[in-house]
């Protein structure tokens, strides 16, 4: 298979899955099979792409054979390829988890095609080399996520969906205006060509203003301080698979876009733009972790932790050294897997005990020691306990901060890390370790003569398998940190030296007509 085919497969496979799902609208069983098969293929294509890009370097394909910068370019460097591969992994895990967690009503109203189109939008956004095309992919994934969030129409869901929809539409309209303005300044929308043209813009002030517009629009999508308010009010409302895939992937698309434009396009005034990013990163970490400390709902705690973790990823971008960016990329890989996993585990807890409220939970470790172990792996990894993946991600970031003597942000990162551990221990003690509180729900469970449900029974096995796969990935990344770090470092080097990227996209004619 040629690399060119592989480049478009991560977009085409979810698209085909969605179409086949819609064709089988009345037959939910067939939809399930198609989706799991499609997601398996998507994941394989993603990892194959990553392997090929790692071997051959950056590759681009000009859609419709229009040479850059006139046509739309699909391009994958290592960073894109890593993100696509992880998206495939998450898509597969969530599809399997959905098999026994999504209710019939939602399945009948297009849950599976929506998940597929959303993943198509996500991989499109990762692979496109054109700024306006990126806007279109954002809209593709947004409209699917809107419907997924509101699907079911429960009171909480609708209220969360309105906040989410409004803030995202606002961000899209800023994005659109910024794209229009950047075209008027540089006369092109191809990102590689833009990187060349922006150097020659005579008024650097305009470029800085545009940079801030992009910072705001991607900041809203990534839930950066002070633009994160839509996230904690919406992410805990939909079914757990939807929460999990949103938590794992959607904010990270914003982070990806931000890293892309602030390494490729807006590097003329690094002192100005990247200092803003670094400050915002620090504040994002602190507010997120403090928000989590005050919450007592499993999913709300996790939602606030998404925000604080976004701060770490932006910290690498703000420091703007190759090592720091490698740290950001490592952090992205680690975080997507761990975060999705924690949400999926909260879903199993809810299935076993019927609640997300930490105060109503308890005694899970006594009844389900395996689940306890499965929770501890991602939880400790999130807090950064060696030898799990989070430890290495934080180590790289902190070391890169020390190297360029940015002690303030390093201090914040370390403090927030300790607070994260506090949150995770809180969940551990409340949900797993303490005795279950006396409540009607618990009495109802104990009053039943049936034996306690085990994790290995048929109705739960599809919930446990993805959690185990993701936990295994966390351990593997921790144990095999060296190869993953080298991969991130290579990706970071490509980002810091965009010449190869520009040459691959522009080809022999140098983007000149």
């Amino acid at each position: 298979m040629s690399v060119e085919t592989l480049l478009v497969l991560p977009i085409l496979i979810p698209f085909a899955t969605a179409i086949l799902d819609i064709l089988a609208w009345d037959r939910v069983k067939i939809q399930r099979q198609i989706t799991v098969l499609g997601m398996t293929a998507f994941m394989l294509a993603g990892f194959l792409l990553l392997y090929k890009i790692e071997q051959d370097g950056i590759r681009a394909v000009q859609v419709g054979d229009w040479p850059a910068p006139f046509g739309i370019t699909i391009v994958a460097d290592l960073f894109s390829a890593i993100m696509v591969a992880i998206t495939g992994l998450i898509g597969f895990s969530v599809a399997v988890y959905s098999l026994s967690s999504i209710d019939d009503k939602r399945e009948q109203f297009g849950y599976y095609p929506l998940i597929s189109t959303m993943l198509m939008g996500v991989s499109g956004a990762f692979l496109t080399g054109d700024l306006f095309n990126m806007f279109v992919w954002f809209e593709v994934l947004l409209i699917s996520s809107f419907v997924l969030l509101a699907l079911g129409g429960e009171r909480d869901q609708l209220s969360g969906a309105i906040h989410y929809v409004v803030l995202n539409l606002l961000s899209s309209s800023i994005f659109l205006a910024a794209v229009g303005l950047i075209y008027s300044v540089a006369g092109t929308l191809n990102m590689a060509d833009l990187a060349r043209q922006l150097e020659h813009v005579e008024q650097p002030g305009i470029v800085s203003a545009l940079a801030v517009m992009f910072l705001v629009t991607f900041g809203i999508k990534a839930a950066m301080f002070p633009l994160f308010f839509w996230l904690p009010v919406s992410y805990h409302t939909p079914p757990i698979t939807v929460s999990a895939i949103f938590a794992g992937l959607l904010t990270k698309v914003g982070v990806y876009a931000m890293i892309r434009v602030f390494t490729l396009l807006f590097v003329q005034n690094v002192d100005f733009t990247h200092t803003i990013i670094l400050t915002a990163a620090g504040l994002t970490m602190i507010t997120g972790v403090l928000g989590a400390a005050a919450e007592f709902d499993f999913r709300r705690v996790l939602s606030f932790h998404i925000i604080s973790q976004i701060g770490y990823m932006l910290m690498g971008l703000g420091l703007f050294t190759p090592l720091a960016l490698a740290g950001s990329i490592f952090y992205l890989i680690h975080h997507i897997i761990v975060k999705t996993n924690l949400f999926l585990i909260s879903g199993i807890v809810e299935r076993l005990r019927g609640s997300f409220e930490l105060k109503l939970l308890g005694g899970l470790y006594r009844d389900h020691p395996v689940l306890g172990a499965l929770f501890l792996i991602p939880a400790l990894s999130l807090a950064g306990i060696p030898p799990l993946s989070g430890f290495w991600a934080k180590l790289i970031l902190i070391r890169s901060g020390l190297e360029i003597e940015e002690y303030a942000i390093v201090g914040v990162a370390l403090g927030v890390s300790a607070m994260t551990l506090y949150s995770m221990i809180k969940i551990w003690i409340e949900a797993f370790l303490k005795d279950a509180p006396e409540s009607e729900a618990m009495e109802a469970i104990e009053a039943m003569d049936e034996p306690q449900p085990t994790l290995w029974q048929a109705s739960l096995i599809f919930l446990v398998i993805p959690v185990m796969i993701l936990a295994l990935c966390t351990i593997l990344i921790g144990v095999l940190a060296q190869p993953v770090f080298e991969l991130s470092q290579e990706a970071a080097n490509q980002l810091m030296n965009p010449t190869a990227y520009i040459e691959t996209v522009c080809g022999a004619n140098q983007c000149e007509p």
Binding site: I143, A177, V179, G180
Partner: protein
Amino acid sequence: METVLAFVIGILYAAGIYMIMRRSIVKLILGLSLLGHASNLLIFTVGRLTRGNAALIPDGAERLTGDFSDPLPQALILTAIVIGFGVQAFAIVLVRRTYNVVDADDFDRLSAVNR
């Protein structure tokens, strides 16, 4: 003409943001649609306003010369209008559904149920 449009765009943005900050959910949707129009007009204006000169290369010439109206911003606007239409249609249905459930056109009541 640019000056007039600049003011129109400014007023549209101001009106849109004002509407978004109201408590009424219906006005929120109106505000979002005004913001969309403002962005579209902005792209249209920065793509240079040229009348009567289509971007067609004359017979025998190699490239365009002189003033011509750039078709690319207009293509962008077309795409943006179509996307905006779809998204707003969804937003309206969402508001209608929320109105049925919450029984009020009020953001504060909505947030009250969220805790």
